[in-house]
Symmetry: C3
Subunit: 202 residues, 3 copies
């Protein structure tokens, strides 16, 4: 179980590191700072989560996360140097996968620490959303999360489902898989069909 | 006493949640991300304060803050949907009230934890200023706090007054009310008469 | 030893406070918010470091840091009021010195807490880079660290050298001086000869 959580976290870190590197390339940024951007995107959400939950920050004592970022960014850079091009859609999909992984990891970590469900859903959304948010702010983009497309909403739905199943006493791994899959599928559908949630106008 | 502090915090959270929602509307943002912006504005300052003071983050174990944000944002959205318009001044006034509440809550919490007065004033200013700062950065506005109008200064004056009275042994609630009122009135006067503090030119 | 670390920290705080004030002047910002910007630049990096390392935040119980910021910003403002002008190069050099000091302080603090070397280097880079990053984001500049010039790289090289010497059992002060000097000299040379690190194109 603990191993599985570890791999979920590593996977989330890898896709967000890639999304940070892609964004840096798209915005014509360069230099080793690209890896700074990749790192902040990859560990920003989880770091904020761990600080707020007051548990040791996940990447400090365990080097595997930092290695994962370096390796992911390295291969991504290599690929970009040879192709000089990447389909913009990749950035969105990488972001969606990272979103789903981190959302569900955040919910799970909060629940296992006895945080109330409402705060656990917020914690999950925050973990999922913050890495990309910091990435977008640093690159002076309007954060994806504020653009009206279904984004934070997918985290809230997936996270709530995970909490609900958990409260019914179901197996934690099962709750996480279902909650994560729901988040990912909803987000991919939102990308595919440009689902918008309009709260301001009828 | 503890109840009063709780209600002060809730009120600060509500007005900042409204100011976040209004800003999102003004910047033509949409979707559930609006509530993300409202939340970050509302709990950003206090979260940073609690992390630095190393006390449990105020909204994690107590759901009332999150409910307050949801309800405030909900009614604000409802209002905006029907009026399609809001006087810009409302955003400034909501921000001023949040500033005063959060400033004085930050000072009070720091003092009660034995933080030196100078740091307590900084902590109050930070609590008051950070929510709006994050809101403005996320919306790619120049932060209000850097615009030259009397803003951070009102927090520093109100917070210092609160500390001074507290050090004289006066009742904590009285110190807070006077410090908070000073902050709010100074800020409102600065908005009304466009008071500027120029530090760079004579 | 502890005294020396304290003075290193104070010096880093002073130069970053100056760099924050200079940036505010350059961007035609004004008012007491300038000191907010100076403070965030000066203590932002170290605050994030201390939060992640889960040690008490360095400026809360020790007023000397806040006084250092106020005095540095005050004299910098005084100078700018009389000269109405400053060579842009000063901003870059102040930033370089702050970068070197904070980098090495971060590495040292992490190592002394038993953090693995890789994470210690990251912690140093983060301490050095974050103050300026927050400054640039608040001023809506593209962060220096993402601009392709040798920046984060100098921290990584200086920090790795410091770690290496430390692991050989050399005196901590010696490791820090050598690591810090390496960071500073590399960064100054990068500014002087516009050294770029290109990772995306050959």
């Amino acid at each position: 179980m603990k191993d599985l959580l570890h791999w979920f976290d590593i996977l989330g870190v890898i896709v967000f590191a890639i999304s940070g590197t892609l964004m840096a390339h798209k915005k014509h940024m360069d230099g080793f700072g690209v890896i700074v951007l990749a790192s902040v995107t990859a560990i920003g959400g989880g770091t904020v989560r761990d600080l707020i939950l007051d548990v040791p920050v996940f990447w400090v004592q365990d080097n595997s996360y930092l290695y994962a970022i370096l390796i992911a960014a390295f291969f991504c850079i290599l690929w970009l140097r040879h192709k000089h091009y990447f389909p913009l859609r990749f950035l969105l999909i990488a972001d969606a996968i990272g979103l789903a992984f981190f959302n569900i990891m955040g919910v799970q970590k909060a629940l296992s620490l006895g945080v109330p469900m409402l705060a656990a859903v917020v914690m999950g959304t925050m973990t999922g959303v913050f890495g990309g948010l910091i990435r977008d702010v640093m690159c002076r983009e309007i954060p994806l999360v504020l653009k009206g497309e279904l984004y934070a909403t997918t985290c809230i739905i997936g996270g709530s489902l995970c909490c609900l199943l958990w409260s019914l006493g179901l197996d934690a791994v099962f709750c996480m898989l279902l909650g994560g899959a729901t988040t990912l599928i909803l987000r991919l559908m939102a990308i595919r069909w440009h689902w918008h949630l309009t709260v301001f106008k009828t």
